[in-house]
Amino acid sequence: MTATSLMELRDTIIKIISETLGVPREDIRNDSKLVDIATDSIALFELLIKLETALGRHVQYEEIAHIETVGNIISYAETLQIDPAVLRAPQQP
């Protein structure tokens, strides 16, 4: 992915986290722990669904078991080689 695409990916993920968990974007950092910014397990699951939709990829649970922070999500998403056109497409539930 190009540097621009990586920035788009990061911005998309931050936007989804902010909208799904109700956290202002300026309060979300790479080292923000998901268990700290999510109210409960249901909120984290809804976040996963929204991210799958936005990234156009199904996520295997074993692959995300290590994810604790926002930075972990972004690093994981970078490995998926997401087509930037997918990020720019209107989101469908």
Binding site: D40, S41, I42, F45, E46, I49, Y61, E62, I64, A65
Partner: protein, 206 residues
């Protein structure tokens, strides 16, 4: 199983975590005393295994006591069980779920059961289904490493209170002891004890 439910006044993760540890210690202490053992409360500690699952430890003893902890402000719930059991607890705020969320975590049988219930009961049943799946996954020690749709709890949705029910985990039936409480008009809590599983594989293709 001995469970402890506490209510906290401060919505802070550290406060909730410490309240959960205290509730877990109290449940371990009560479980041990029920067996006729006199120990000081200070001898009880909560540790974590290699998978991050908590367990109770009594100073000077070699065995561990299965415990589980759950938080949903303002409630903290903890339970301890006999050493040959696996226990999981969960407390959740009752809510309306988005359709895509329901589709993602409910099996077809669970959706059919809930669809047949009165409309005003469905948020409770949706939340109960989630809570039961969470408590089962916590009892197994797998947590988020298994997708909740791999646990089917339709037979456990009926009844209320204390009961035995057949659950399916990755299609395999297990009998579980279940407790369910509506701890507050807005919250439901569940506790599940499943029989020990000697072999478990994570093959999450769904």
């Amino acid at each position: 199983m001995t469970w402890v439910l506490a209510r906290t006044a401060i919505d802070d993760r550290k406060v909730m975590h410490e309240a959960g540890i205290k509730a877990a210690r109290q449940s371990v202490y009560a479980t041990y005393r029920e067996r006729g053992h006199r120990i000081p409360f200070e001898s009880v500690s909560i540790k974590k295994d290699a998978l991050g699952k908590p367990y109770g430890h009594i100073h000077g003893e070699s065995f561990s006591i299965p415990v589980s902890i759950s938080h949903s402000f303002p409630f903290v719930l903890a339970a301890a069980a006999a050493s040959d059991s696996q226990v999981g607890v969960d407390v959740e705020r009752i809510r309306d779920f988005a359709p895509e969320t329901r589709t993602a975590f409910l099996t077809s049988a669970e959706k059919d059961y809930i669809a047949a219930a009165p409309e005003n009961r469905r948020p409770y049943l949706d939340t109960l289904a989630w809570s039961l799946k969470e408590s089962v996954l916590k009892a197994l020690g797998v947590g988020i490493r298994m997708h909740p749709k791999r646990v089917e709890v339709v037979q456990a949705l009926a009844g209320g209170g204390q009961r035995e029910a057949v659950l399916k985990i990755q299609g395999i039936p297990y009998t579980a002891a279940i407790e369910e409480w509506q701890v507050d008009p807005a919250f439901v809590a569940t506790a599940t004890i499943v029989s020990p599983l000697s072999v478990y594989t994570y093959n999450d293709r769904h």
